[in-house]
Point group: C2
Chain length 272, copies 2
């Protein structure tokens, strides 16, 4: 809610400069995106670093979506509102020098006053990275989840395909007091070998599940993944999975998969 | 000190079983090895998981060395003292299921009563992993440090070679109230391209500095690396570096390099 408050407040300052940044981070040691007192967050770390780099206190940062504690991003987005212009050619390099190694700015552009980082999202892509078999090297532990057992990958792929389209996802999310509309549309899904499987610290038996959509409910991706793993390990039948997808029954169908397997892969905007 | 206290206390319990474990971890989100109230540590996480897996409260864990906050390990060691025997064939697999993905047990063996994990260290190997040039992907940010600039690698190699042998390292450590003996011996050093450079998230321009010795002073490896980087970037001359190595002058010669580039690569014991 704070984000919207800032946005409206700033919207009135018609003389402020507005910039769109893309950023990537390893979420492992952060208590999520959203700034909170007394804990390390992505937004808090970015604001502290921009204050230092800009020598300016009055700017505001508004994210396109708020990742939970432990969740990473490969290409997230935020808007920066500033009373003074910034140097587009050097700002990313300059801020990156002061950001810790687990956060990196990718690019920046100036956007018009009519750009709205919340409403102008065309789609977001989330990936869930996971490995089966032997437990893997801890150096990959920040962006990959491990599951014991030998799941039926084909059955998981079948389940994943069912998620595509418009459904009532009330059994694939955590209860949220703000909404009573659980209908969302998943534009695309895929299940493939991890693109870097076998390279660096990423094990051979690593997979990536991909989910594209305009918006997702709280914990939706992680609960969908949890249900797919239960399906693959025989703890859930395809019939139960399908029934839950119609909104029938009550309570979440599965426990959410661990945060550190989830990556906000991309945020794409329309009208820019 | 607590460690020694436990050790002596247990040493008297001549009927306890003693095991040597090797373990690896990503230190990024941990406040170091040593158990402390209210923060997440490697020892604390291991003890909690063993309690759960063994269904036994009375065991004790003693590490071979205590890594600082943010420091990782590729093959660290600890001794486990237990009043009941453990199942050597399954314990690592079982405990690994409950440990988070950023800590992994590698192997275990039973050791005799005369084995002493502190005194029987033959040598330890530390590696410092770093990259120059473009800031790299945050997913490698937990085990690799980044430095801006274009250092003189040959000069750094020259400086590194000077560290080998027995020296008074008082200007390459943080002042420690417990010791007034700053003489240590470095058995081996090397400077090479990172063995996984260009693979996974590890950038092409990544390097590894290696240090082998029986014991190191507080922050010694990180201050030696900090001084070598200052040397490579022209902030320190080879003459100043050599002079400091004789123990001349006062104060640490450089700021310690960031914790997350440091990895306790291996601990090797004699007599087992």
């Amino acid at each position: 809610m704070t984000g919207f408050f800032f946005f409206n407040q700033i919207d009135m300052q018609s003389n402020w400069y507005t910039y769109l940044f893309h950023v990537q981070y390893l979420g492992l040691r952060y208590a999520g995106w959203q700034k909170q007192e007394g804990v390390r967050t992505i937004q808090g770390t970015l604001e502290r670093t921009f204050r230092h780099s800009l020598g300016e206190e009055r700017f505001k940062i508004l994210g396109a979506g708020r990742t939970d504690a432990g969740v990473s991003a490969n290409r997230a987005a935020f808007e920066l509102f500033s009373p003074v212009p910034i140097e587009l050619g050097t700002i990313c390099y300059q801020v990156n020098q002061y950001l810790p190694t687990d956060i990196r700015l990718l690019e920046v552009r100036e956007v018009g006053k009519d750009f709205n980082i919340i409403h102008d999202v065309a789609w977001k892509e989330y990936r869930y990275n996971l490995a089966f078999g032997e437990k893997f090297h801890p150096f990959a532990g920040g962006y990959l989840s491990y599951f014991a057992g030998n799941p039926d990958i084909e059955l998981m792929q079948e389940g994943l395909a069912l998620l595509k389209g418009m459904h009532d996802f009330r059994r694939f999310c955590s209860v949220d007091k703000i909404t009573d509309n659980y209908v969302r549309t998943i534009l695309e899904t895929s299940f493939s070998r991890h693109p870097q499987a076998g390279l660096g610290y990423i094990p051979e038996q690593s997979y990536t599940m991909e989910f594209k959509g305009k918006g997702f409910l709280r914990y939706q991706v992680r609960i969908m993944v949890g249900a797919l793993i239960d399906l693959g390990l025989g703890k859930l039948s395809l019939a139960e999975f399908e029934e839950a997808l119609s909104g029938q029954g009550s309570g979440a169908i599965a426990i959410q998969a661990p945060a550190h397997g989830l990556v906000l892969e991309n945020v794409v905007f329309r009208n820019i």
